[in-house]
Symmetry: C2
DNA sequence: GGAGTTCATTGACCAGGATCAATGACCGGC
DNA sequence: GCCGGTCATTGATCCTGGTCAATGAACTCC
């Protein structure tokens, strides 16, 4: 699962995209390519096209809030965070999403959630009930959805280990490794990372403070494992060493 | 210290289970009642019956390990924990399961998982591929599975908030509230709770140490919110107050 | 390209929970 | 019922990461 990155994933990172001149059919086509099974019946395809709505959000904007109709959202372009709100203004980023991801926020718990855009985003949104209703009669689609939800569950559980049992250094190193796998670009034996999220987002994702994030990044930089440039560019020089710090630091025994 | 509160909880709790004389058909029937949709075709029913295997585990025993064939497991009786292993012997309990729950462990991450019995368990296990393959042609079943996976995802995300942003007191109070909802018995305006897990399991679930769990329980007891008896019986006297402590303690501002 | 604002870094200090250590309760086996 | 091991509780101390505060870098807007 770790080790050899990106080659397949990286849609060469363009820094700050052109204004959204994309049309709905173009976005929908991206959705079709990324999500729909080959086998899908034409009728279902048309139904999906009819129920899908184009949506866009500027960086920092809210895409979905707690009271909203339950939606299934496809990220055609951009990046988002799913934030849970605890009392006292505390926030926990529960997941990040990037191009090609399918998001379903089913809030059955005691906390409220908000889906926010990290960058300018282009999205296709479906009313969840209609979407799943259709999927119910299209096993191929339902299966694809199940698979993606299982991936989300798996990611969420990996995050539980991080938040429950890892040190600040392990969390930050692990975060960089995960991001490298998801949105990194191979470069000179290392990996180039353009992080779409702020230090605060990282902190809220890792259960730390921005100060601790900053200190840990400094430490990794001084250890020669990463190099930084500006606020959001990170060059990972030694991925193996970073992976070691992500899980083994306190291993010793 | 604990002694004086014992009076609150009479010895009304039955200490457990008759030996497992249950037959596979009986267990399978429980599975059918709990999981299968009404609409399921007879053929599918028979196929499920054929692929399901009876399994049992004694308290503390391992049900599934990392290297095992990927299974879907139905808990007919007993309780289980799903544990993730981090380096240095650190463990994180990722989920608890009780009677009627359906478990799917799809480990796509960097850590290994073990499914363990907390009590003597009776289970029905299906090879995941066969099960999902059948479900693919039975939308009703696939939909039920999706629904349960979404519930797992939701629980996992609620847990992320707990581990990322809550204090020890909030975690323990929240844990008791959640357990009360899942396995509590209403009693005298409060709720009686027989916890099948040890302090260590609670600690590994909440990202704390057993000492901290113990101190927090003591504090809640001294505040009159709970009464304890023995190692595993807890009487929740004031659920509302406990809920308040679960989320609002640091609210103030 | 300079001013202003937001965001990140660094430092000093503090506290919540971990760790280490000892005692005590619970429960299972005879 | 007593004995032994395991598990839970309590106390003393330590340390990681949080908090508060100040400086500095980076991006935005004209």
């Amino acid at each position: 699962m770790t080790g050899k990155f990106c080659a397949c994933i990286a849609q060469s990172m363009q820094y700050h995209r052109a204004p959204a001149t994309t049309t709905f059919p173009e976005l929908f086509e991206l959705f079709v390519q990324a999500v729909l099974p080959q086998s899908l019946a034409d009728a279902a395809y048309l139904q999906l096209q009819a129920m899908g709505r184009y949506a866009s959000a500027v960086a920092g904007g809210v895409i979905l809030e707690d009271g909203d109709q339950h939606q299934v959202v496809f990220v055609a372009q951009g990046a988002t965070k799913l934030v849970a709100h605890a009392s006292g203004g505390r926030e926990q980023v529960v997941a990040f999403h990037f191009e090609g991801d399918l998001i379903s926020v089913s809030s059955r718990g005691a906390h409220s959630y908000t889906l926010c855009a990290l960058q300018d985003c282009e999205l296709v949104a479906f009313p969840a009930e209609d979407f799943l209703g259709l999927a119910r009669s299209e096993p191929g689609l339902l299966n694809e959805v199940l698979d993606r939800v299982l991936t989300s569950l798996s990611r969420s559980r990996e995050k539980l280990i991080t938040l429950g049992r890892k040190t600040a250094q392990e969390r930050v190193a692990g975060f960089l490794v995960t991001m490298a796998e998801r949105i990194g670009t191979p470069r000179e034996g290392g990996c180039l990372l353009h992080l779409p999220m702020s230090r605060r987002d990282m902190a809220d994702s890792l259960g730390l403070t921005i100060e601790t994030i900053s200190r840990q990044l400094t430490e990794l930089r001084e250890a020669g494992l990463i190099a930084t440039s500006g606020r959001s560019d990170v060059h990972i020089c030694d991925i193996a060493a970073l992976e070691a710090r992500a899980g083994q630091l306190a291993a010793a025994a």
